[in-house]
Symmetry: C2
Subunit: 246 residues, 2 copies
């Protein structure tokens, strides 16, 4: 019911609300008066209704990235099974990548841990997320370089990283070709919200180096998963299905 008030933001008189949600006015009145008395809603001087101060306190408690990871989880499990590899999901927190999901066969062989924070410049997920940063923030990040080399393939020079990120931005996915650990390759694609911002990224890891052909084969599945997650987040109202994966 709250929902109706918020979607109308501002222009919702009680009578109008009653009409839009098709209930008697007396019911609408009470269903609004109760949340108002608790501070979840508020009414303006001219008897319209808006969100209340108590929602303001709940706002910072909501962890957007956590919700996204939770929604994404079943997609990642499916993807990992389809590809037969390890699939991970990461988000960017003050210029570090947080790994939030790790699933698939061989997950134990990979050095990452859930909730681990890692440098962004050397991972596929990190590069995808960096590539989407606004120019000002990106500039301040690359200014912290040159970056420590973890293998002989690691990109260490700011100028090289910028060039790499431009490529990532254009082609829509990122690669890590043994830049963290020798012999470990990853492909990552962004997960975008309705506004177009990349709020997370998912990657598939391979314990070999990848040929162009292998990349081209894996990519569609990754992109389909990312698109599915975007749709679940911002598309038509979720089907409310209960996912319960092993």
């Amino acid at each position: 019911m709250l929902e109706a008030v918020l979607t109308n933001d501002g222009r919702s008189s009680i009578a109008a609300l009653a009409r839009t949600m098709d209930v008697p006015v007396s019911t609408a009145h009470r269903q609004v008066a109760t949340p108002v008395s608790q501070g979840y809603l508020a009414q303006t001087q001219d008897r319209r209704h808006i969100a209340g101060p108590r929602l303001l306190r709940l706002l910072p408690l909501i962890d957007e990235k956590q919700i996204i990871a939770n929604v994404a989880a079943p997609f990642l499990h499916r993807l990992a099974r389809a590809l037969g590899t390890v699939v991970q999901l990461g988000t960017l927190e003050n210029e570090m990548v947080t790994y939030r999901i790790k699933t698939g066969v061989g997950a134990g062989d990979l050095f990452t841990r859930v909730d681990m924070q890692l440098e962004a410049y050397c991972s596929a997920i990190g590069k995808v997320l960096l590539a989407d940063l606004p120019e000002a923030e990106l500039a301040s990040y690359v200014a912290t370089g040159p970056f420590p080399a973890l293998t002989r393939h690691t990109i260490t020079q700011p100028a090289d990283l910028r060039r790499e990120l431009a490529i990532v931005r254009e082609r829509g996915f990122a690669l890590d070709a043994g830049e963290i650990v020798e012999g470990l390759s990853c492909i990552a694609v962004p997960i975008r919200r309705a506004g177009g911002a990349a709020v997370a990224a998912l990657s598939a890891s391979f314990f070999t180096s990848l040929s162009r052909r292998e990349i081209a084969e894996a990519l569609p599945a990754l992109e389909a998963a990312a698109a599915g997650i975007s749709l679940a987040l911002d598309g038509p109202m979720a089907p409310a299905a209960v996912h319960r994966e092993p």
Copy 2:
């Protein structure tokens, strides 16, 4: 309910929730299962509970500034009555000040309108809000100068504005001494959230120029009102009193 889940964010099993909100487990189970089936909440693989994707869709519908203005309204009315002047509340939207409340005697004589957008560099409210901007954003704002002079007192030079804002930041309030309209003076103070960020500012307007003494007299009332609003927003849970001012 929802609130308990959010405040526990993450570590809330059903049994734990039942204990913290002191209800039988079966009740807690249902009270969680219902929102989960609607997408307001979600459960993780390990049966803990977090916010659900549907809340993610409601998030952008909540207008923080509007809520704040609504909470602040009664304080402004009281302040205007106490000072016998026009009192206004404004917020910063992409470097312009939006006037959201205007109250008090003589409100008709002042050129501002509710919902009007005005340049920030020349008003007291604008200066208070600019002074609180992060350095990066402030730099990009002053770079848009020099600014058009509206009166012979208007600050037009970027360097002068930076100097003025440094003073504002230090002493905690801003003045407008005929910088928009000859003969109109304003005093503005910031309204701060718990984090310390200034999310809005309130000002008192006088149709004279102000002496040091007059400023010193009005200031405590302004600051008390701002403090009261901050408390109502972030202090101990609001008293849920029904304000109904003329």
